[in-house]
Symmetry: C2
Subunit: 148 residues, 2 copies
Amino acid sequence: MSKFTPTECVRLALGTLVKLARAEESVSSRLRPGILNAGLTESQFGVLEVIYFKGPLCQRAIGEKILKTSGNITMVIDNLEKRHLVRRERSSEDRRHVTIYLTEQGEALIHEIFPGHAAEVRNIMQALTEDEQRELGRLCRKLGKQES
Amino acid sequence: MSKFTPTECVRLALGTLVKLARAEESVSSRLRPGILNAGLTESQFGVLEVIYFKGPLCQRAIGEKILKTSGNITMVIDNLEKRHLVRRERSSEDRRHVTIYLTEQGEALIHEIFPGHAAEVRNIMQALTEDEQRELGRLCRKLGKQES
DNA sequence: CTTATATCGCTTAATATTAAGCGATTGAGG
DNA sequence: CCTCAATCGCTTAATATTAAGCGATATAAG
């Protein structure tokens, strides 16, 4: 059985994908310790962060922001709610929606840890010039935008 | 409590990171169905793929390639071994190492499904020109290369 | 109104994943 | 020959994650 030999353009695509995955993993693995140190999982941090900046959101919207499925969001929110960092409130306009609000404690926590996190992100991304960051962002957006 | 307002360069870094994560998620979520259809998890597919192209490897090396921890690799290999897609063999030179080989069935499976997978990757990456793919690859490599 | 379709949060079952630490093995330095 | 540190695969416990499907709600069409 002869081994599959990809064409040049397939090889390029495969190689690019590997580099994309490695970069994402590399960055998030360097950010992980800081988040775990604050006593949060990455998903929990993501939820607090998005509500802190975007304001109260329903669970589906949060799931789209932090790239997790709805079943998972339910558990993440459960755990945050147990620690009184967020609270649920069912929407009166559309009773299918459950809006998630930051509690005072949740706001205090994210307010405390976010600046350090942001500084770490900046340090990591400074491996690229600002123009390179913009170009990377553009390429990533172009790649992700395709409807699937 | 006033909300944290990041400087412009922090904002750029944060935005770039979000786009990177979204792109990676977008691509892999489009590839996932094809892999699951073949009866493999993404990690299992990754193991078969890397051994198929790189030849037999020890578990640690595989873990580095597919970005998973050693404990996880043990389970992934366990499951592949149960299905007789790979086999373990302890190295005689360094008895700490366990080298993973593709079985005939494993080779047949990856040989069968990889071309379709590769074609899908090419289709997805064709949202970018070849030059853009090379530039994306360069930026990702530069970002990931930093020793952590 | 009624039916059909879609959406949302949730539950369930199965699996994946991680961090932490352990025993066996290796190699280096005294 | 001995430690000693490092490496490798593995185990364990805890948690995360997913796919699939359910019930409640909303919306649109007839």
